[in-house]
Amino acid sequence: MKLTRRGFFKIAGATGAAAAASRSDPAAASPPPEDPYGCLVDLTRCIGCRKCEDACNRVNGLPPPERPFEDPTVLNRLRRPDERAFTVVNRYFPGQLDASNQLVPTFVKIQCMHCQEPACASACIVGALTKKENGTVHYDVTRCIGCRYCMVACPFEIPAYEYHDPITPRVMKCTFCFERISKEGGLPGCAEICPTEAITFGRRKTLLEVARKRIGENPARYLDRIYGEKEVGGTSWMYISAVPFEKLGFIDVPDKPTPKLAETIQHTLFSYLWSPIVLYGLLGGIMWTSRKNRPESEDEEGDRR
């Protein structure tokens, strides 16, 4: 086996870069929090009042909306969360009719799902996005370099970017009211204001029990599915509904955590730096054998020169 000088540097360079990349991402290696907070959104309870949007705007100091929160025509078109609104409520008409033959609306609140194993945090090369013990997927603006890999990675297409701000743009997404819920008895702004408790705040484990209990006690009202229980490895925000989630704009995601494949490859290859050690060992072995097999005359000639 012949190994050219150029080929050797190619391999060495690539290996080194990959090793460095795997170590610069400490969050991705950490396991999901054991007892995180979460929110259970009961779509059968939501009345579409958009108070959650109002409260979110207020507690996060976001810019005033283009149309007032009381304006019901806003619901006439489907929206996505953006850099000016961390959460939006959309209205769907899944086809059900009420007693007076009117279509029954279902309202869906969208925000960051705060995944147990967030793809954005895994993709973030500087550790600006981290999964906290209380369940929050937290964004640290001082670390962010604006690469927007998180926006590409997110399976729910949530993070938005302040493209209008050329000097200090930020990635904008729901904060799960990190500061508020870190305090004793603190609640996310949206959960606190919700008039019908369509948003239930609590420990994720408790919420799963509550959700199962609600479904079990009223099987005619709910579908037997908790969106977010298993999706992408589980999320802190979860939904129960009377209408199939596919009809309500929910993204069909696999149960496997999104970062699983990439992280498995990385962590398998570079745990304890075994692969570079093996590689360099192998190369050293090749060098050693090739030197040993070289005729002595060549060495002597080289010395003389």
Binding site: T200, G202, K213
Partner: protein
Amino acid sequence: MIKAFPPGAPARLLVVLMVLIWAVPALAAGTPEADELALDPNWKAPDQEDARERAKEVVPFIEAVVDECQLCRQQRLRDVGLGIKDITHSYFLLESPIIKQRENHYGPVRFMHTKHAAAIQDCAVCHHARPADKAAKETVRCSACHQESFRSDHPERIGLKAAYHQQCIDCHRTEAKGPVDCVGCHPKNVPDHKELVKLPANPAPWDVTAECLRCHASAGEDMLATSHWLWRGHSAYTLDRQKHVMHGKGTTAINNF
């Protein structure tokens, strides 16, 4: 906004009525003049004040309730003989400190207890569970079971604010009766009318009506379609009024202003 009435006897009746209306409070009050009494800034409606005081109370939390179906509950209430006659408070202001300590964006909702009870004729719709404690009363106020939201010791129990909203909105929807929007029940933030209202020193009743209509013209139009204008006596649904003769403002009594 004087309702048209035929000349003659009713007009005379009006004069008599007006004299009565003005004379009675003056006599009852004794020394102060009638118009002085009407403008007393310290006067407060006693039932409103009573309701306001009651709204401040926080009763002990009820941990456990009897687990029974709605039909069982209905039948048991009927067996016990509980009904509209047992109502102790007919009027409530929904202004609990349990809610206000968290959020305080709207004024209190005024809840007509007896009116709702008379329309529904089924206590179990709202009083849907009884305390497990045998000694407790059969029906308790909403805030006995529903207090703070998201209690970790009772995660399945909804908070008081959600209990009100779910109960009211669900029922108003299914009955297609009653408001389902925010300001239908909650009063808006009303500006101080002391500066807005401009009246002569000794206003006649119609001066007051005209001054109100200056800004609230549409409210005046609406008023003509309400039972306040077309009232024909006690509703036949009101307890013990089933056999009363109808003689409201829509028939023989006169709307004066």
